[in-house]
Symmetry: C2
Subunit: 234 residues, 2 copies
């Protein structure tokens, strides 16, 4: 096994932008970095790519370390490669974003990282270029969610139409007409109405829906227009 002569080698990390939705607001899962430099500062959850794993496997491992969750929605965002982005030594970071059901996380939280959820438009200063990663992830989330049904990944198995509406309104920081919204969502035929209601938020109660997993998987890449006016995306 020859090598490529004279080429520099670098560290390669993975950082995860983890989104959750608590019923009110889109949130970001952040940790307190537990090693130098910048120890104790807020940071995205990350780690170095190990010799035996792909970058995606690294992202899954890192996500599992923090949340105990597997099988969550994970997508490569972009690789950040400015030479000076890490002051210690040159490190490229492959950013991934994940969408998780925040309640699943609460069940399985690993305390050692001092993790916390922060609203997407009011989170603490982050180390290195992590804020740029978050902003890019937020843009990407809006972009994709306007075309594909990815936001369901943030919800529990059963959810109501008002919850869904809240979520979209918070993600796009915009108000949508509930009649048009539910018509559009239902027209995708992705939802199955349940017989029972969530009565925690109102006296009348709101019917639960479940995702039709089969159709969801099959139609994920089909184009679906979820957002009335996509000016919010830019």
């Amino acid at each position: 096994m020859t090598r490529y002569p004279g080429q520099k080698h670098y560290l390669v990390a993975v950082d995860c932008i983890i989104f959750g939705f608590d019923g009110e607001h889109l949130k970001l899962l952040l940790i307190k970095r537990d090693f130098e430099p910048e120890k104790g500062k807020w940071s995205l959850m990350g780690g170095f790519v190990q010799p035996d794993e792909s970058s995606e496997e690294a992202a899954k491992r890192i996500l599992f370390q923090l949340t105990g969750l597997e099988g969550v929605y994970l997508e490569q965002l972009e690789t950040f490669g400015r030479p000076d982005r890490d002051p210690v030594e040159r490190t490229l970071s492959i950013a991934y974003f994940a969408l998780i059901d925040i309640h699943q996380y609460e069940k399985q939280i690993s305390g050692k990282y001092h993790a916390g959820w922060y609203p997407i438009d009011k989170y603490p200063k982050l180390i290195f270029d992590h804020s740029a990663m978050v902003e890019l992830a937020r843009k990407r989330l809006r972009y994709k969610a306007s075309l594909h049904p990815i936001l369901f990944e943030l919800l529990p198995e059963k959810f109501t139409m008002p919850q869904l509406l809240n979520m979209y309104e918070d993600v796009y920081d915009a108000a949508f007409d509930k009649r048009n919204f539910s018509r559009k969502i239902l027209s995708t035929d992705l939802l199955m109405k349940q017989k029972d209601k969530d009565k925690s938020a109102s006296k009348k109660g709101a019917f639960y829906y479940k995702l039709n997993k089969r159709k969801y998987t099959a139609n994920f890449h089909a184009f679906l227009k979820f957002i009335p006016n996509p000016d919010h995306l830019i």
Copy 2:
């Protein structure tokens, strides 16, 4: 300057998927690899990220080496990080895709790479995972071009409506109604009709158009629906 102890370092490369349009077909610019392993095999143009440059700068440098062009459309595609993707030693590759005016390239071609243009659906076997990169780039191109006016990047300064239609038809491998197509394109207000005609392809001649650069830059991220039925994208 301390270091992160015990972490492995890897090579980081950049590979460029370079698209062109020759008036008939969407094409891919490939080179014959000039070093071992796989010397003489067809490959994407690539190179290693140098210590003083970001990955994007590396991509620009590599693009310039081959084509002599600067200021071309370049977008990060995805990072390929399987541990075994390069048999020599672990190398992650950040793939970029570029859209160039094929005629500009012909003027400035650098002979040393034995480069050649190949139709996007009939190109030779490529080294490593380069074919996967090409297929992903093709998907991304279709996806983006259905929403944003990026395909203009493939055309010379002046072009005709039939050329434009040909290009879209070839990219999507589909036939579009020329009346609806030109109406849609013109409704974006991105094109300026010229007084002169291209008479090389017909006796009657077809009017040239130029991009309105100002509007193009300003509206690039606005959503524009270019493709009648986006089923082609999946």
